[in-house]
């Protein structure tokens, strides 16, 4: 990860001047079920922030040209960032959303992710505290390619839908793929996997994400009639029925949200938040509800004088979940409860709804203070019982009611009263502070308010419909308001109820037809099952898949020292890269028998590609004896294992042509005909029993050795460098065939080939001439001829015969040293290694001291007179039968 330290620099190089990457982080974008690498950067420009999403042509990027901007999401009022991490979570999931765009990123937990997310949160917080007009994000337009739009709203959406050529030109393959992925169905991005995106495991976050994308498929809308009421009661107890306010419509509403302000203006209420008024007004509300419905109180929340009651018609109660309430004081010291807000949130069916009742700062000139109270309530009010905590804005529908205290200013009080008397409200609304502040985007961004067709609700002489006649002679104002935000909300009524005269305010109510999303349980189960099934299916599809062209590799006839190979073609027919390996079976130490070689035994294949694996059979001295003796067969089952997937068995078979090579001296002396002429099984039997079959007198030495030595004796005594120069491989094979099959032709091959064939034959026997268990004795005795002689005399008969026979021959060779240039030391070294062959165990490694001792041992028998050994007459060199 050392290069990632340069990452901020690379990102910065990609940006324009004046734009600063505050923080940069690597993350995986979840595309359907697949994760793809992205680089995220929070970029700041003149106090405006945006999240940049980059695709890099390589990971990590090395230069800024590796990067392409995939999306730019402005951190505006619609920007949301939620963390979704379980306690034992391996990964952190970060949901980024902006309007209809929802992106899910997976990040590796740790300090870097924490820092990155907290920087995003900080930028969102900074936005919420921002005063004045909302950011316009002009600087982002160059990234979206749309210069004629001046609203920030366009940036994210234009990136989604813009057909602008400049943007199109910069689209990468991955981006095109992303377009496909954005389609509502779960598309399996086959291509993306080929591009190295890795399939993901089944994860709750991903399923939730998928379910939320498919919400339309399992929900339908139901319209609920909402009654939102607000009344500043000026600290007075109820004095008349609330029915004219709460039950003035024909149809009973489904939901009531009733807010009061200045419920109690006493010191006790202010200091101890305790008041009898709460119960008095609650009872009054209950008594005044529409007689056409039966209502249950879902929640009640009060902070000093602000009270909010949520009532739900009984038939809907069972669909209300996760109710919660919170309060925020914005009074003195920014926390006292004489001003501020109280809120209740619920989920009705599948729609989250938040009701906020607020009493904002008083006094005509304090509209900025009111704006600030609003922002404080937004940023400070959070429902902490949820993780992550939910704020007001995190709801599908928000109803904001209360004494917002905005006044009518900059107009003569008499003009105001005149306009009111003429019911000419559109003119008057121009002087309404809330109207002005909202049109300047200073407060209640994203909220709607219906047209006001009722008289200002403040300030009256209590008990009358007369405007304030006190000394202050306050101008009338629309202090009491209802605003909303969210989709599927239609306002039916917005009115005041002047008939209620208890307070210096008139109560206000708004009636809405609000659409909530109802989960169709049957459809939900079906969609959920589909998602799960898709996941199962994908998981099975994402299993590595290959086909092999042949699972039965048959080698026709395999001969000693003659390699043969066949190709196995492994094709990756799945959707993911495959790592394959030939693995060993339960009790084996290697993945295949020693006569087989697999190349490559481990490799990696990309989807759609192939790998040729070469299987080579080569029988040499290590395996020949086992094959001759029937201990082993040319038969093996290879296990081709796909990492994370299935195994395929490859059967390898062949016919091994038995040979004198790789047999034991004891067996060979009992065979009077060429090895190939005895029936199959006979050699196996001989090797097993080492007994003479049917009374045949065994030869003193194997006839094959005799043939080779005899030939050399006749034709090669004067040959230079005999046993020192190698033969030809083809001639060696011809000699092998001549020995195994028998022939009336003379022995083929050059003298060097015949000499090497002799060495190879001696070297391939199951045991060396000096048995393995005597090797160390021989080495110990190697400096003393008498001891060596003693050992040789005690060798098993045929071994002793072969040993002495060869020594006679080598002495004969040395007697021609003048012509052939050979010397005893050299020959002793060559034959020492063969007579005293090391055991095949890997521990017995070549060692020059051992080699010298072996040579010393043989040397004695090349330079001393051997005539006193009692040997069979047949061992005498020279012309014989």
């Amino acid at each position: 990860m050392s290069t990632s330290q340069d990452l901020p620099g690379i990102i910065q190089a990609k940006l324009s001047s004046g734009e600063a990457a505050i923080t940069v982080h690597e993350a995986s974008l979840m595309q359907g079920w697949v994760r793809a690498s992205r680089i995220l950067a929070l970029v700041e420009h003149e106090n405006e922030c945006a999240l940049f999403i980059f695709i890099s042509s390589r990971m990590p990027p090395e230069v800024f040209t590796d990067l392409a901007i995939e999306r730019v999401i402005p951190v505006d009022a619609d920007f949301k960032c939620e963390i979704d991490a379980g306690e034992q979570s391996v990964d952190v999931y970060v949901n980024i959303s902006s309007r209809k765009l929802k992106l899910l990123f997976e990040m590796i937990p740790g300090l870097k992710t924490n820092n990155f997310v907290s920087e995003i949160m900080r930028s969102m917080e900074a936005l919420s505290k921002r005063r004045g007009p909302p950011p316009e994000f002009q600087w982002l337009h160059k990234y979206s390619g749309s210069s004629n739009r001046n609203s920030a709203d366009c940036v994210a959406s234009s990136l989604d839908t813009s057909d602008d050529d400049a943007f199109k030109a910069s689209k990468t393959e991955a981006e095109k793929m992303l377009d496909i992925l954005d389609s509502p169905d779960i598309v399996v991005p086959r291509q993306s996997i080929a591009q190295g995106a890795t399939p993901i495991a089944a994860r709750e976050s991903v399923i939730r994400h998928q379910m939320s994308m498919k919400e339309d498929d399992y929900t339908f809308t139901q319209t609920l009639r909402m009654f939102i009421g607000t009344w500043n009661v000026n600290g007075l107890p109820p004095s008349s029925s609330l029915t004219p306010w709460l039950a003035s419509d024909l149809e009973p509403p489904d939901i009531y949200a009733i807010g009061f302000q200045e419920l109690d203006l006493s010191k006790e209420a202010f200091l101890f938040n305790d008041t009898p008024r709460e119960e008095e007004w609650r009872k009054a509300v209950m008594a005044g509800l529409h007689p056409g419905g039966k209502y249950r109180q879902v929640a009640l929340v009060r902070l000093v004088g602000m009270m909010l009651i949520l009532l739900v018609e009984e038939k809907h109660v069972k669909h209300v979940r996760n109710a919660a309430f919170e309060t925020v004081g914005t009074g003195i010291m920014g926390k006292m409860g004489n001003k501020g807000g109280v809120a209740i949130r619920v989920e009705i069916h599948n729609t989250s709804i938040c009701f906020v009742n607020s009493h904002l700062a008083a006094h005509v000139e304090e509209y900025e203070r009111r704006n600030q109270d609003y922002h404080d309530i937004c940023s400070r009010l959070s429902f902490s019982k949820f993780a992550p905590v939910k704020c007001i804005k995190d709801h599908d529908q928000i109803y904001w009611l209360g004494d917002l205290n905005y006044r009518i200013t900059e107009v003569e009080i008499n003009t105001v009263r005149d306009l009111i008397n003429q019911n000419y409200f559109p003119a008057l609304i121009q002087y309404d502070q809330l109207h002005r502040q909202r049109s300047q985007n200073n407060v209640f961004e994203g909220y709607h308010e219906g047209a006001i067709t009722f008289k200002p609700t403040y300030k009256y002489d209590p008990g009358t419909d007369d405007w304030d006649s006190s000394e202050k002679n306050r101008a009338p104002a629309w202090c009491d308001r209802v605003l909303w935000r969210g989709d599927g909300i239609e306002q039916k009524e917005y009115r005041s109820h002047p008939i209620l005269k208890t307070s210096d305010h008139k109560p206000v109510s708004a009636l809405f037809d609000s659409q909530v999303r109802v989960i169709d349980v049957v459809k939900y189960r079906k969609v959920h099952e589909e998602v799960m099934k898709k996941l199962d299916k994908l998981e099975n599809e994402f299993l590595p898949q290959v086909t092999v062209d042949n699972t039965e590799i048959i080698f026709d006839i395999v001969r000693y020292l003659e390699p043969q190979s066949q190709e196995l073609i492994i094709a990756n027919t799945g959707q993911v890269p495959v790592q394959f390996e030939f693995i060993k079976k339960l009790d084996d130490s290697k993945c295949c028998k020693e006569w087989l070689n697999i190349d490559p035994p481990v490799s990696f294949i990309m989807p759609g590609e192939k790998c040729d694996v070469k299987l080579e059979v080569f029988v040499d001295k290590k395996s020949a004896f086992k094959l001759n003796s029937g201990v082993d067969k040319l038969y093996d089952i290879l296990v081709l294992h796909l990492e994370g997937g299935k195994d395929i068995f490859i059967t390898v078979t062949g016919n091994y042509e038995r040979s004198c090579f790789g047999s034991s001296l004891e067996a060979l002396v009992h065979v009077s005909v060429p090895v190939r002429e005895i029936p199959i099984g006979k050699l196996v039997e001989l090797e097993t029993t080492k007994e003479a079959p049917g009374g045949m007198e065994p030869y003193p030495i194997p006839k094959e050795i005799w043939f080779l030595v005899d030939h050399l004796y006749r034709h090669g005594l004067k040959k230079q460098n005999l046993f020192l120069l190698p033969g030809l491989h083809s001639e060696l094979l011809a000699i092998r065939n001549w020995l195994d099959n028998g022939s009336s032709e003379p022995l083929p091959g050059s003298l060097h080939s015949i000499a090497e064939a002799l060495l190879l034959l001696l070297d391939s026997t199951s045991e060396p001439i000096v048995p393995f268990n005597l090797q160390s004795v021989c080495l110990g005795a190697s400096s003393n001829y008498l001891q060596c002689k003693q050992i040789v005399v005690q060798l098993p008969e045929y071994r002793k015969n072969v040993f002495l026979y060869l020594c006679f021959f080598l002495q004969e060779l040395l007697s021609h040293a003048n012509e052939n240039g050979l010397d005893a030391k050299t020959l002793a070294t060559v034959f020492g290694g063969i007579f005293l062959r090391d055991s095949p165990r890997p521990s017995a490694r070549a060692n020059s001291t051992v080699d010298r001792k072996k040579a010393n041992f043989v040397y004695h028998f090349l330079v001393n007179d051997l005539s006193d050994y009692v040997v069979s007459k047949a061992l005498h060199l020279g012309p014989s039968s």
Binding site: D84, A85, G86, E87, Q88, S89, V90, D91, Y93, A201, A202, R203, E204, S205, I207, N273, D274, R296, Q297, V298, A299, L300, V301, R302, L303, V317, K318, V320, R321, N322, A323, A324, F325, T327, G329, G337, F386, A387, M532, L535, D536, K537, E539, N540, L543, T551, K585, L586, I637, V639, L640, G645, K646, D647, I648, F649, T651
Partner: protein
Amino acid sequence: MSVGPYNYSYIFKYIIIGDMGVGKSCLLHQFTEKKFMSDCPHTIGVEFGTRIIEVSGQKIKLQIWDTAGQERFRAVTRSYYRGAAGALMVYDITRRSTYNHLSSWLTDTRNLTNPSTVIFLIGNKCDLNAARDVTYEEAKQFADENGLMFVEASAKSGENVEEAFLETAKKIYQSIQDGRLDLNAAESGVQHKPSQPGGRNTLVNDQTASKDSCSC
């Protein structure tokens, strides 16, 4: 409150064993894909399939190893028994020889798995009742005598396929609950993926009557 990253709590390893041609791969395919695979080739090796199921409210991921049935692979397939929590032993009700070999498959299973491995006997191809060669009763008796669970099923019609896989999982889950199966044993065939108890916010009707709790 959010759950961990896994949408399952356990992984159970299953093996499917039995003679060649009894329909092991078709049973797996029917279980994972809900489809019958006609002209299914002989398995040359070990196929691998997975599915997430639910037992007692717990999501369980089944990892299923479907072994080659051919006798010549027997020595190799023995490598795969180790660590299986469930073994589905399959015979073909229309071929008595496949039933007769059960004791040899059972011996392998007992020798190569651990005592808590759940062995489920499946008499496959019960859709071919006309060609039946093994009665339900004698197979049932064999299962009872050997303490095996047993159903006759059809990979073709899907009958009892789901049940066989699910019942096996239930039995394994029960063993875990009873403490008979040691999750820490390397060869239990079960991996536990702890996810948060209770999951997300519970979907119960938690109205908050707030009368006495609204103070700040």
